[in-house]
């Protein structure tokens, strides 16, 4: 059980959902994250960039099976996993107190 610690970076709705999906699924393609969030490439990219700059996710480009374009795979780092878990613990604490 992680120590509850609210995280302003992760708490933004889109970033919270991104972290949640990555925590559950492990590694997800950029396009799949974008489709699940229902946002544009630019918006999704912006949020992933913020998370990457904070060391919470990694963006890995690999040759893809579609049209020869590279595909970006996203996954949580160990630090991101810990920060997300702590943030969820904090949210559960808050929700319990509400």
């Amino acid at each position: 059980m992680s120590e509850p610690q609210f995280n302003e970076v992760i708490h933004a709705p889109m970033r919270l959902r991104i972290c949640g999906m990555l925590h559950s699924a492990g590694e997800i393609e950029f396009a799949a994250i974008r489709d699940m969030l229902g946002v544009s490439d630019a918006v999704c990219s912006k949020h992933l960039k913020v998370l990457a700059e904070n060391g919470y996710v990694t963006l890995d480009k690999r040759p893809g099976n579609r049209n020869g374009h590279d595909i970006t795979w996203v996954s949580l780092t160990d630090e991101g996993t810990e920060a997300f878990a702590s943030h969820i613990a904090a949210l559960q604490l808050i929700a319990g107190m509400a």
Binding site: Q5, F6, N7, E8, V9, I10, H11, P13, L16, R17, G20, M21, H23, S24, A25, G26, E27, I28, E29, A31, A32, I33, D35, M36, A52, E53, N54, G55, T58, D60, K61, R62, P63, N65, D70, W73, S75, L76, T77, D78, T81, A83, S86, H87, I88, A90, L91, Q92, I94, A95, M97, A98
Partner: protein
């Protein structure tokens, strides 16, 4: 990534939360909805589970039919049986191929092991059901209706356990569990292991020429890997065949052979897995040149040999419960030599192509 710009996470949030922020409960409900979507990605579809269950029933029916010489009544011979067996394998592989393609297109790494003990218990129970049912129909003489009943029941039980495994994985994810460490080809855990980042084609291509030529040697597997893989495959066939002969003819001295083969299989598997993990190579790397593709397809084609030998052994042993050692030895030797030589050449061609910047 630049960590110096990271803002300090604030603790004791309630006082810091502004009215425009998502409430904690809303945030958690968003996560729950997303978990449901993720959980669906990790569940094998019902159609797939039904295909596997039906295939399981048909295989058991085949076994009953060969045990009771039903194919003789139809005027068929071993060739028909082998063709039917291979056709069934192709159909099952086709279903798995369609499912794998759908999983890859979904953008998730959804091939995963069961995340809980209960899930493992369901998977093992499904396998055990198949093994027990097939053993019973092979060992115990029984009328047609009994064989059909056992086949149908085992298929239904397989379907049930598959659905239960899906439910277990679903519940695990909904409870907030992470599938990262259970993924079969997890990029997460291996990629940031002690040996650093995974060696992907993109990583090779990103290197300067001299470094790339040096690093390209990493794709060449040790000389023993391909013989080990092919010998292991043949050992599995031989082990199952010996076990069947041991049980049917009650030749319990064969238990020594079975145990020896099992130990060899486990040892070889552990060695191969250990090397593959430590090599940190991206196993999804595709062949780079036409020659590499031809060699790769050739390696895949040689895998038909053990499939044929397995079917042949099954058919032969259904009539005469004695392991066809000569056929297995000769066929196995051909497979090991072909697979190993093609594998060795493939690695070197791939290395040369990467070094040349292909």
């Amino acid at each position: 990534m630049n960590r110096s710009t990271r803002p300090n996470p604030t603790a004791a949030a309630p006082q810091a939360a502004s009215p425009s922020r998502l409430s904690a409960a809303d945030a958690l409900s968003f996560l729950t909805a997303d978990r449901e979507t993720v959980a669906r990605k990790f569940a094998t579809p019902l159609w797939f589970n039904i295909v596997i269950a039906i295939a399981t029933s048909i295989v058991i029916l085949f076994m009953w039919a060969t045990r009771n010489n039903a194919f003789d009544v139809l005027g068929a011979n071993d060739a028909y049986f082998i063709i039917a067996y291979i056709a069934l394998l192709v159909a099952m592989c086709g279903a798995i191929g369609v499912l794998s393609h759908a999983v890859i297109k979904s953008g998730f790494r959804a091939s995963a092991l069961p995340p809980t003990r209960k899930g493992w218990a369901y998977v093992i129970a499904a396998f055990a059901t198949y093994i027990v049912a097939s053993s019973v129909v092979m060992i115990v003489p029984m009328p047609g209706w009994a064989g059909v009943l056992i086949a149908v029941v085992s298929g239904a039980v397989t379907l049930l356990f598959a659905q239960l495994t899906n439910r277990e994985t679903h519940d695990y994810i909904m409870a907030g569990g992470s599938m990262t460490e259970f993924q079969l080809d997890s990029g997460g855990r291996r990629r940031y292991g002690a040996n650093g980042e995974l060696w992907t084609m993109a990583r090779f291509r990103a290197l300067p020429d001299a470094e790339r030529r040096e690093a390209s040697r990493l794709v060449v597997a040790p000389w023993w890997l391909y013989p080990c893989q092919s010998v292991c495959a043949m050992a599995v066939i031989a082990c199952i065949a010996n076990f069947a002969q041991m049980v049917v003819r009650q030749e319990w001295t064969l238990s020594i052979d079975v145990l020896f083969l099992l130990v060899c299989i486990i040892g070889m598997t552990v060695s191969m897995v250990r090397w593959i993990r430590n090599s940190n190579l991206d196993l999804r790397m595709k062949p780079t040149t036409r020659v590499c593709w031809a060699l790769y397809i050739g390696m895949c084609a040689t895998c038909i040999i053990p499939v044929y030998l397995a079917g042949y052994t099954l058919g032969r042993m259904a009539r005469h419960p004695e392991v066809p050692m000569a056929e297995l030895a000769v066929g196995g030797a051909v497979f090991v030599v072909l697979f190993s030589v093609l594998g060795w050449v493939y690695d070197r061609k791939q290395r040369d192509a990467i070094a040349a910047g292909a």
